[in-house]
Amino acid sequence: MNARLTTILLRSPVLVTMVLFMLVPMGLAVVYSFMTNGAYGGVRMPFTALAYRQLLFQEDFDGNLVFSTGYLAILWRSVLLAALTVVASLAIGLPLAWYMACSAPAKRARLLLLITLPFWINTLIRTYCWVLILRDEGLLNGGLRYFGLAGGHFLYNDVAILLGMIYTYLPFMVLPIYAVLERVNGDVIEASHDLYADRWNTFRRIVWPLAMPGAIAGSLLVFAPALGSFLAPDLLGGGRRLMIGSLIQLQFTSSRNWPFGAALATVVSVAILAVLFVVVRKSFNKVAAR
């Protein structure tokens, strides 16, 4: 058998699977977003853009369209919380990755394992941990009372959601940064010191630029799932602080408005693709400029 044919034969099963069960469904979801809501879930004809209109306008009692910010506010909060998650994980993850990269090889392997492990533990359980800690009768309040301090309500707010998301997605940030920093040659840093750079300047002009590709990859890997996250807003936000992920899920379950849910899913996907596109192009330009 010739090599070219073998290559095609080997690639085709995964190609067919991913196209059929990933790309086509996402395309179909876009089609659904332009259809009409069925009475018991599902969709009907005709094609309309009603679902997208619902995102921006609401009908009042007289049937007039009124601009409404309700859903936009949820979208905005989702983007904001996802962005904050990225910033916080970067702030925590970069020093940690640097520390790992600077450790002796044997210790490095152990530190790496310790970062990787939580990533594989069930996300539902990892989110639920924080319910036990933050809820009114939880560990945090118990601890505060033990020390004679007044407790408070820590669950069901944006800070709790943010905490849960950082906790869930931190490994996604640390691993790519570590992967690039691990390969950094220590001589470069000593050279920078020899040229009288202090720690801050060495970081700013040597370490940070070298860590950049990892930080970009990590930011994407954190931002995308954080934007669509469901468990943290649901369990730690108590379903009262909706994010777009939980809003989408609601449309397919209790609200039974599939076109609107599909429209929201389309908006999220487009947003992520746009970010991906911009970031990838930007980093590509940077590489090209060098």
Partner: protein, 267 residues
């Protein structure tokens, strides 16, 4: 001292900060484990050590059904996604940047970037659109798709590390392509394949959202069942079943990483 005036490896505070982060990662998990052994009814009020909640979990028939569903789906999608990943990794082995291989690779890695909720609703829409009703089969298909990248990455890494010298040597000794694969490539790749398979298994076990949206009554997986229990309030029984799930993920992943380590040491 004078030999190393500037120890860039020891930035002050970095070590402390890192251990605080590790504490942040592990302390909450410890909370669940500790409270799963709590004697009292209250999930977070310590009343002494007991294994009662574990006994309750083992006698709960619904948990047993959910667990067996989870295992069936995880094993099936592990086998399917690993087969796809092995063929894909071999097919993409000599892919050049910018070629058609890049598109295939992008598709394989797509589930890592697309949020789970989008994958879940798209799959739901697709299955209901074509009227596919295979019971657990639907879940197996959906899980297979997002498990592929987890199975693929370790295999691809191993293929890259391996180079092709040994295989070329086998060819020089008059092996045909099938013999090269059967006697050289596959044995060298096996630890990575097993590692990828286990990571795929762990990913399937981790999934919640896709299973929740796709599974009909009677096809509930363990995370979906736990989520349902949470709706009824926090209880030590949840802590016990969570601890069991947590422990099994840790065991699976430790074994998987062990195998990956083995491939590194051998080369």
């Amino acid at each position: 001292m004078s030999s190393k005036p500037f120890d860039w490896k020891a930035t002050p505070g970095l070590r402390t900060l890192s251990w605080v982060v590790y504490l942040f990662l592990y302390a909450p998990l410890l909370v669940i484990i500790v409270y799963s052994f709590n004697a009292g009814r209250q999930a977070t009020l310590w009343e002494g050590f007991s294994l009662d909640w574990y006994a309750k979990v083992f006698h709960n028939r619904d948990i047993g059904i959910a667990l067996s569903n989870s295992l069936i789906v995880a094993v099936a999608s592990m086998i399917l996604s690993t087969m796809l990943a092995v063929t894909a990794a071999l097919g993409l082995r000599h892919a050049r940047a910018g070629g058609g291989g890049q598109i295939t690779l992008g598709l394989i890695l797509m589930p890592l970037v697309v949020p789970e909720v989008v994958v879940a609703v798209a799959t739901l829409v697709f299955f209901s659109g074509i009227g596919l009703k295979l019971g657990l089969g639907n879940l197996i298909i959906a899980h297979t798709v997002f498990c592929v990248p987890f199975a693929y990455l370790p295999i691809q890494a191993r293929l890259t590390d391996m180079g092709s010298a040994v295989e070329d040597a086998a060819r020089d000794l008059y092996s045909n392509e099938w013999q090269v694969f059967r006697r050289v490539t596959l044995p060298l790749l096996l630890p990575a394949i097993l590692s990828g398979a286990m990571l795929a298994f762990a990913s399937s076990l981790d999934d919640f959202l896709i299973s929740m949206l796709l599974a009909d009554a009677g096809q509930t997986t363990l995370p979906v069942y736990i989520y349902g229990m949470l709706r009824l309030g926090v209880s030590p029984e949840i802590n016990a079943v969570s601890t069991l799930l947590l422990a099994s993920s840790v065991v699976i992943v430790l074994v998987a990483l062990r195998m990956q380590g083995m491939t590194k040491r051998r080369s």
